[in-house]
């Protein structure tokens, strides 16, 4: 096998399919791409960080085409907004790929020296960004349980509306007016994170909701539309650098495209607060899992001194925690999904009887 590509036996292939399935269930359930689980999952299976990101962004590209088509049919895609964001998102992706390439090279090219610099960089960005996302979600859940209200704050939207940085552009589907500069900055951040850790949606969607004031459904649809182009651009860039393992992309699809339907079914039968709680907890555990792996990269780079034999334990703990969080989250979702699925059949019979009352007394 060429350097950087892992040997694929049946067990590893099955694990990749499982990663895809869990990622798909989580993705369908919480509306993100599932990369926060699949990227570190692949890294734990021995896939070098840049390969894991490149493979995942390519995987998301195909999936986003299908998802955005469905959202488009429902009128949830603001193409104008997505295209404006794309202008700088492309620069963000290119920047991310360039940084990744630079970090990967000194380690001896594809896979040499375990690509520790790139792995450390990816893991650090992953931990910082997703820790903030998870903490924000948990804070919102706690706040909403106290006040019995749940709504993204519009303080930033109102502040920016008052600032009115020209030129201000109207986005017709989302029905918002936003300064072009704000859109371009958010596009850049989304592209950079999509290119670095494959989770642009975690920035793009909240940015659209909290900063632009876009309705949640339109934000999700527009981000998916944006993801088609970002994914295509990312896939082309990583592909050009030879950092995409097409075998892993196909294996991920085998699991994710089934899981995503099951996860989406779950959103219709599970309360919103549970959806957000499960999501926040899974992300927090993924962050912890990646944080545990960081000392290994620090030691490989010579920043930390300890017995290399301990690497095995760090990796095992990281892998175990990631799988535990993903599998537990998946089982919680599947529990609700199948409970609702079978309950639906039981309940139907009871509704049919005694639904009609004739005649009633008239007062």
């Amino acid at each position: 096998m060429p350097p950087g590509f892992i040997d694929l036996d049946l067990l590893t292939a099955a694990q990749i399919v499982l990663l895809g399935f869990i990622g798909g269930v989580l993705s369908g359930f919480i509306g993100s791409g599932g990369a926060f689980f699949m990227t570190p999952g692949m890294m734990n299976l021995g896939v070098a960080g840049p390969f894991a990101v490149g493979t995942n962004i390519t995987h998301k590209f195909g999936k986003a085409i299908i998802g955005s088509k469905k959202h488009g049919e429902l009128g949830h895609v603001d193409k104008k907004l997505a295209i404006f964001m794309l202008l700088t998102a492309a620069i963000g992706i290119r920047l991310a790929v360039w940084i990744m390439g630079k970090l990967f090279e000194p380690a001896g090219g594809h896979g040499g020296g375990h690509g520790a610099g790139a792995n450390l960089y990816i893991s650090t960005v992953f931990v910082v960004v997703l820790a903030v996302v998870s903490a924000t979600m948990l804070r919102d859940i706690i706040r909403s349980s106290k006040t019995a209200d749940a709504k993204p704050s519009r303080k930033i939207v109102e502040l920016l509306t008052r600032l009115r940085l020209p030129p201000v552009i109207h986005f017709p589907v989302a029905d918002v007016r936003v300064s072009l500069w704000i859109v371009l900055i958010c596009g850049l951040a989304t592209g950079y994170l999509a290119g670095t850790i494959g989770v642009g949606g975690f920035i793009g969607v909240p940015a659209m909701i909290y900063i632009f004031g876009v309705p949640a459904q339109v934000a999700a649809g527009s981000e998916l539309f944006l993801a088609v182009f970002m994914g295509a651009f990312g896939a082309m860039n990583y592909g050009f650098e030879g950092l995409v393992d097409i075998r892993l992309v196909l294996l991920l699809y085998c699991g994710s495209l089934v899981g995503v339907h099951i996860g989406a079914y779950g959103t219709k039968v599970v309360k919103e607060v549970i959806i957000r709680l499960v999501t926040a907890c899974i992300i927090a555990l993924c962050v912890l899992s990646r944080a545990i792996a960081i000392p290994v990269y620090l030691r490989q780079l010579g920043y930390l001194q300890y017995n290399p034999a301990y690497d095995e334990y760090f990796n095992a703990a990281s892998k175990g925690l990631l799988y535990a969080s993903g599998i537990t989250g998946m089982f919680i979702i599947l529990f609700f999904v199948f409970k609702a699925y079978f309950q639906r059949r039981r309940v139907r019979a009871s509704v049919v009887t005694g639904v009609r009352k004739t005649p009633a007394t008239a007062s």
């Binding site: 590209f61 085409i65 209200d149 896939a235 995409v244 097409i246 009871s350 009352k357 009633a360």
Partner: protein, 507 residues
């Protein structure tokens, strides 16, 4: 007897106009504040509702139910007023309360921002800047309230029959002009509009009865009425609590039959004539069972209402061959023809279809709309969760080619307005059910998926080497193949997975 709704902003003079108009016409005058007080006395937490909206927060489950109760309360009061001798209502969203009633005279009262600021400064003793801020905030709250409660943009001028500007007209003269306007035939009640008003009032009273009972107060129930027949739908999570609903509704006047349906969502079936024995109903029932949905019958009796009312009147002289000729203002004695009267006694097969839906526990209610596609959209409850609209045979009086074109236009218009999938009845099987052609497609898709997967997995060494090979030509070629191969595989396998899940009714 009629209903006049005056929508007003803060200190825009609407209140004064409403009071003068009510005196001139001899109608009762009702303000939003009076309705709000009455609703609060009836136990609806209007204050909490308003605070949530002012603070830009969506409603939690209980407040969402209370919002429905308040909407029902205001609907009942206005419908009652319109039926019992006429009423002038003034408030922020009165024009939205009875959207299906065309004869309501809807007026928007506005005033120059400067005048409003001055009046606010005088009345509230505020500084200029604070008065401006106060007016802007109240106007924004009003818009948010309309979006939250009725899911529409209340600033849309097409929602009003007339906009009056008190900077150009005095309140007295406006009242005089509106008395004349209110006498026009377009704003008189007809037997059909009275029937519709009674339906709305009955549905609202039933909704209030459900909300008033402590056992069912928290249930997110949607109520429809057609005559004395009531249909209540509620979500599955309230299944156990919904049992007392039929008993509660026995106390509501004029109710003779109650149908309760538990449903997570709704499917609207638009058709001009229903056939309970046809193939569409079993297909719809199968989909409704899969989705846990209620099927709502919307009978559309199409007329040429898209054109302006003036054109209708002008058309009178040349309209000898029109399906539904309309009278002109001059010779109709002030009352427009009741178009629906022609259909009296003919339910278009709705009764039989409804009976079958009830038997299967999937009845979501019924509505008859006479008019254009715009009237159809106006007649729909925009707060209702709809997952699919199915359009069957409509425009039956038209020629084949015209019917096809108008049905296509209707499909596009409904899709754009409701933003949900809209399909024709003949597409149901292909889109949502599983038949022979779906088996064939699934087999084809699985073959293609297997072929592509097998190709890569049996040539791993070659595939990975190819992806890595140096040289610009190779790099570009590998990128092109990647961006073509990956989405194609995703499409084949994604469609296969979708069909497989549909096969096991997992949608």
């Amino acid at each position: 007897m009629q209903l006049i709704c005056i929508s007003r902003g803060t200190y825009a003079g609407g209140k004064e106009l409403a009071e003068k108009l009510a005196v001139k016409l001899g109608y009762a005058c009702l303000s939003r504040e009076e309705v709000t007080d009455a609703a609060a006395r009836a136990g609806i937490p209007v204050g909490r509702l308003e605070m949530s909206i002012v603070r830009h927060r969506p409603l939690n489950e209980q407040l969402a139910v209370d919002k429905e109760r308040f909407a029902a309360f205001i609907t009942a009061r206005l419908a009652e007023g319109a039926l019992e001798g006429g009423m002038v209502y003034h408030g922020r969203t009165g024009h939205l309360v009875l959207p299906t009633i065309d004869n309501v005279l809807r007026i928007r009262a506005i005033q120059d921002a400067e005048t409003r600021i001055n009046r606010t400064m005088v009345r509230l003793g505020l500084s200029r800047e604070k008065a401006r801020k106060y007016i802007n905030e109240v106007d924004e709250d009003r818009s948010r309230w309309a979006r939250m409660v009725y899911n529409v943009d209340c600033e849309d001028p097409s929602l009003y029959d007339m906009v009056v500007n008190f900077d150009h007209m005095s309140v007295d003269n406006t009242a005089v002009a509106l008395v004349s306007l209110a006498g026009l035939p377009e704003f008189q009640q007809t037997p059909a509009s009275r029937r519709e008003l009674k339906n709305l009032m009955c549905a609202a009273q039933c909704r209030l009865a459900i909300g008033d009972d402590p056992r069912t107060r928290h249930i997110d129930a949607k109520v429809k009425a057609e005559g004395s027949k009531i249909t209540v739908t509620y979500p599955p999570r309230h299944q156990s609590a919904a049992a007392p609903i039929p008993e509660i509704l026995t106390s509501v006047r004029d109710v003779s039959e109650v149908t309760c349906t538990m449903a997570a969502t709704n499917i609207l079936w638009v058709q001009e004539r229903y056939n309970a024995e046809g193939t569409t109903l079993p297909e719809l029932l199968e989909i409704a069972e899969k989705w846990n949905a209620a099927v709502t019958l919307v009978r559309l009796i199409a007329t040429d209402e898209a054109e302006p009312a003036t054109d209708k009147a002008a058309r009178k002289g040349e309209g000898a061959d029109d399906a539904f000729p309309l009278s002109s203002t001059e010779d109709d004695g002030g009352i427009l023809d009741d178009e629906e009267a022609e259909e009296a006694g003919d339910d278009g097969g709705m009764d039989a279809t409804m009976d079958l839906l009830i038997r299967h526990g999937r009845a979501g209610g019924r509505t008859t709309v006479t008019g254009s596609p715009q009237a159809l959209i106006r007649s729909l409850d925009r707060t209702l969760q709809v997952s699919l609209v199915v359009i069957g045979d409509v425009f039956l009086s038209r020629s084949d080619s015209l019917r096809k074109r108008q049905t296509r236009e209707l499909t596009a218009y409904v899709g754009e307005s409701l933003r949900v999938p809209v399909i024709a009845t003949e597409e149901l099987k292909a889109q949502y059910l599983f038949g022979a052609s779906q088996w064939l497609k699934l087999a084809g898709l699985l073959c293609m998926t297997g072929l592509m997967f097998g190709l890569v997995m049996t040539h791993q060494e070659q595939a990975t080497t190819f992806m890595m090979k140096e040289g610009l030509h190779h790099r570009v070629l590998s990128v092109v193949l990647l961006v073509l191969f990956v989405p194609t595989f995703a499409y084949f396998w994604g469609q296969s997975a979708s069909y497989l899940l549909r096969l096991v009714k997992f949608e």
